[in-house]
Symmetry: C2
Subunit: 521 residues, 2 copies
């Protein structure tokens, strides 16, 4: 793992320990080469470069991967200039540029990465992410608005976000525009002298006044989020022509290499070594719990009253809730969800049934379709089937390879961690019934007046494949039942018991997060 | 055109003139029938009704039209209760309910109907629109926040919005929940007595205190937005069971009738009578205007400087801008757009190239895909090809029938009217070249180093069909060049002239709307 410099081409970076008591960072120093390009050389180079860039864009529109260009750094004015340059040199119609500044109200009401997910390029598209969002993390740390642990956590989410995109086939090119200290000083002096605005830009001043700390945090950010497939490239901003040409060439090189790779026959990844068989949690689940009709009705009514109060409280306290339901066919997900929704105000919840993805969804990393449905603060989203489809049906039906399934566990855990860390209440339920009960329910459905429950051949086929599903479920439980987001295994042979159990879990969790005194008080 | 009552089944409504000096509106009175349903009858009816409703939902998921249920009225508490009831009785997983209350910040920054378009059901989906949004228009009028003309305009946009959906095949069911005056009085008394909150709900009080005016405006709203295919149905809210059952039955009847119609063989609409040939504006356009290289460069640079200033001003003043570009193949749209974008900050504009629609887009009315890209206030969106595709390429290639094309003109005019009325700067350009120039450019493209300009067979095929396109363009110009949104015909045989001409038009329009003094000052 090494940050790559565009010029000179390679560089050894010493361990952080040896550098941390000096602002003179070898990482940035190496970029401060003071290279200049004169106008003549610039214009000659530009002609071919632009043709090549636009042609690469054209080829890109026919491929099956997205391109994300990340442009950040300490050189605020340089960033703005260079983004405009890229839009001028490339075919601007096929460059989406997203400038991430202060969050809008809509964005503030969603988890931090929601706006990045929404703005991601689809396959065959190119998007530039720019703006002060990376600086914001550094500024927050400098101001002690976040502690060291939170700083590290944010970096690790950034890295895993990129990694998920890379694993999905994306080309990610990351550039850090750097201005040497003396150039920054000159700019500040000039700004004060010109007096266009009463004072120079706040970020420039902040960087200047806390240069050591700022550069130290920047370096740590770069090191931590440096990924083999997507290393940071540091570009010096002192000479505009050098900066623009270096960046454009580097983008072209990145695009060309990735296009070549796409054209080549890529052998499928080797199958991962087989896992130790996960413990069979399903087999040991006690499915006997049962409620009498009277017990069920009494408890259901009491819990629904409680849920009514608690969901109103969650809305008032702006707590977002995400419920994910998975389960064996005919285990009764629909019935459970209806008992929940009946006790809430329609304005407060939304049910999202997960079926076949749309083509817009297929053009993005698979978690994109879940990010887009996340609730605002104060609202609840109930996923009827969920992102776990990747490690269940998609795995068993061989729609994805084993390496992808392995990665999915980590991607899912990171996704859920982000939600929980940002205050979202997340609960996930597996509703379970045994084979006999399933057979009884299939038979009952043959006689139901509800068309949607009519049993098809596919249901019987899925039933026959249960051993494979069971193994997938057990592995899912083992790998994604985390402290922050544990699975709830719900015995559902008795419908009433399952409904009451889920109602109670949801109520208890809402009570905890909204600080309600326990039921007895 | 007549408002239909669910019970009694039909009613003659006298002219508005005879009713306008009395709050005793025959429209609402007819609904005040005081019907009651006892618990026993209610529960017996409910069983079959729910099975039938859920089965209709199931059938609906396999059809090719969307269902929109509009639930509004003067009975605030009734609305909330009834929406929850519907979600309970139907399969809530396949009911989307959108409660339109106060606008979010994001919504405030877009044209009024943007949030409704975004929330529309796709084909095979069912959405309930509810909330105080219709009341908001009445409240605004009562408070004189809008004048009579604006009131009428809003009603006419509501109606045309629905009409566009209906013409696209949607089933639209509209219900107005009405509470008689004496019931409203009782509710207010009870609220004051209970003192749950210090005062009864603001809307209830407002309605009560200005009952005559409120009912008068409601009646006018209902009459004006009553459409043959989607009449308002007024339901009395006095008895909960009667209200809920009447509504559910009415929805079931609507769904069933529409499902039957979908199953029946529907003959295509008869071709409309042929039009008088539109004037050939293209043929009379003078294509000779031309600039020398020097003139071009000077004027371009000056105009780009001006655009830089003006687009910053538009951002500061929160003026949204929409530019639509259409033109003959090889007329130079891309070159013009690049000259515009080069003079703006990437944060301020977005270019949206319009190609083949995605499947999510195909599931909605064709204007949906343009609504979703409309700019926030202070931003610009440049459409490279536009909603005019429906009356150009889709028409010439026989992708839509003539009746649909006829409707599209009105739909487009209404769409554009909404934008302009809400302060969006809208400009639309047709770039024109003659056949000889097109032939020259095609030949030149054969030699260009840019792959994306390579000429294909299809380009020559389109060229051969030009007479049909020309007729379509001329009709489009005749029917959609309105006072609010006139077409700009741009002679583009000379690329420099066309670029400068468009730059100037955009600058002048921005200057007018931002109140810049004329160029001379």
């Amino acid at each position: 793992m090494a940050a790559r410099h565009t010029a000179p081409p390679s560089l050894r970076i010493p361990d952080r320990a040896s550098a941390q008591h000096s602002w003179r960072s070898p990482l940035f120093e190496a970029a401060e080469i003071g290279a200049r390009i004169d106008r003549r050389e610039f214009e000659t180079s530009l002609l071919d470069l632009r043709v090549a860039l636009v042609n690469a864009q054209y080829d890109l529109r026919k491929v099956n991967f997205p391109v994300l260009i990340v442009l950040v750094g300490d050189d605020r004015m340089g960033l703005s200039a260079v983004v405009n340059r890229l839009n001028e040199w490339m075919d601007a119609r096929y460059v989406h540029t997203r400038v991430f500044g202060a969050q809008t109200e809509e964005e503030q009401h969603h988890p931090r990465f929601w706006r990045y997910w929404r703005a991601l390029p689809g396959r065959g598209e190119l998007t530039i992410f720019t703006g002060p969002w990376v600086l914001a993390t550094i500024k927050d740390r400098m101001a002690d608005a976040i502690d060291e642990e939170e700083f590290q956590r944010r970096l690790s989410h950034m890295m895993r976000f990129e990694q998920a995109l890379l694993d999905d086939g994306a080309l990610v090119l990351k550039f850090w525009l750097h201005l040497p200290k003396e150039r920054l000083e000159k700019r500040l002096k000039k700004a004060r002298k010109n007096g266009e605005s009463s004072s120079p830009h706040a970020i420039d001043t902040l960087i200047h006044e806390h240069y050591d700390e700022f550069m130290d945090l920047s370096e740590r950010l770069i090191r931590k989020t440096d990924i083999g497939e997507a290393p940071w490239q540091i570009i010096e901003g002192s000479d505009n022509r050098h900066r623009d040409l270096t960046l454009a060439r580097s983008i072209l090189a990145g695009l060309s290499a990735r296009l070549d790779r796409a054209r080549a026959e890529v052998p499928p990844p080797p199958p991962p070594s087989p896992d130790i068989e996960p413990p069979n949690q399903l087999a040991t689940l006690d499915l006997r719990p049962k409620l009498s009709r009277k017990e069920y009705k009494e408890q259901r009514d009491a819990l629904q009253d409680r849920l009514r109060t608690l969901s109103a409280r969650a809305r008032d306290q702006e707590v977002a809730t995400v419920l994910a339901f998975e389960g064996k066919d005919a285990a009764g997900k629909g019935g459970v969800i209806r008992r929940l929704s009946a006790a809430m105000d329609v304005e407060d919840y939304r049910i999202v049934p997960i079926g076949v993805p749309t083509d817009e969804e297929l053009r993005h990393q698979y978690l994109w379709r879940f990010w887009r449905h996340l609730p605002r603060r104060g609202r609840m989203v109930v996923f009827d089937r969920s992102w776990y489809g990747r490690v269940l049906v998609e795995r068993v039906e061989d729609l994805v390879d084993e390496a992808t399934v392995r990665r999915a566990y980590a991607e899912i855990n990171d996704f859920e961690e982000q939600l929980v860390e940002e205050g979202v209440l997340l609960l996930k339920f597996w509703l379970h019934i045994d084979d006999d009960e399933q057979a009884r329910r299939f038979a009952a459905r043959e006689r139901t007046p509800y068309k949607k429950y009519k049993i098809t051949e596919e249901d019987y086929r899925n039933r026959a494949r249960w051993p494979e599903y069971e193994r997938a479920v057990n592995e899912m439980l083992a790998r994604t039942s985390t402290d922050l987001a544990p699975w709830q295994l719900v015995p559902a042979n008795d419908k009433g018991y399952a409904r009451v159990r889920v109602l109670r879990e949801v109520c208890d969790a809402l009570a905890r997060i909204t600080g309600e005194p326990s039921e007895r008080d």
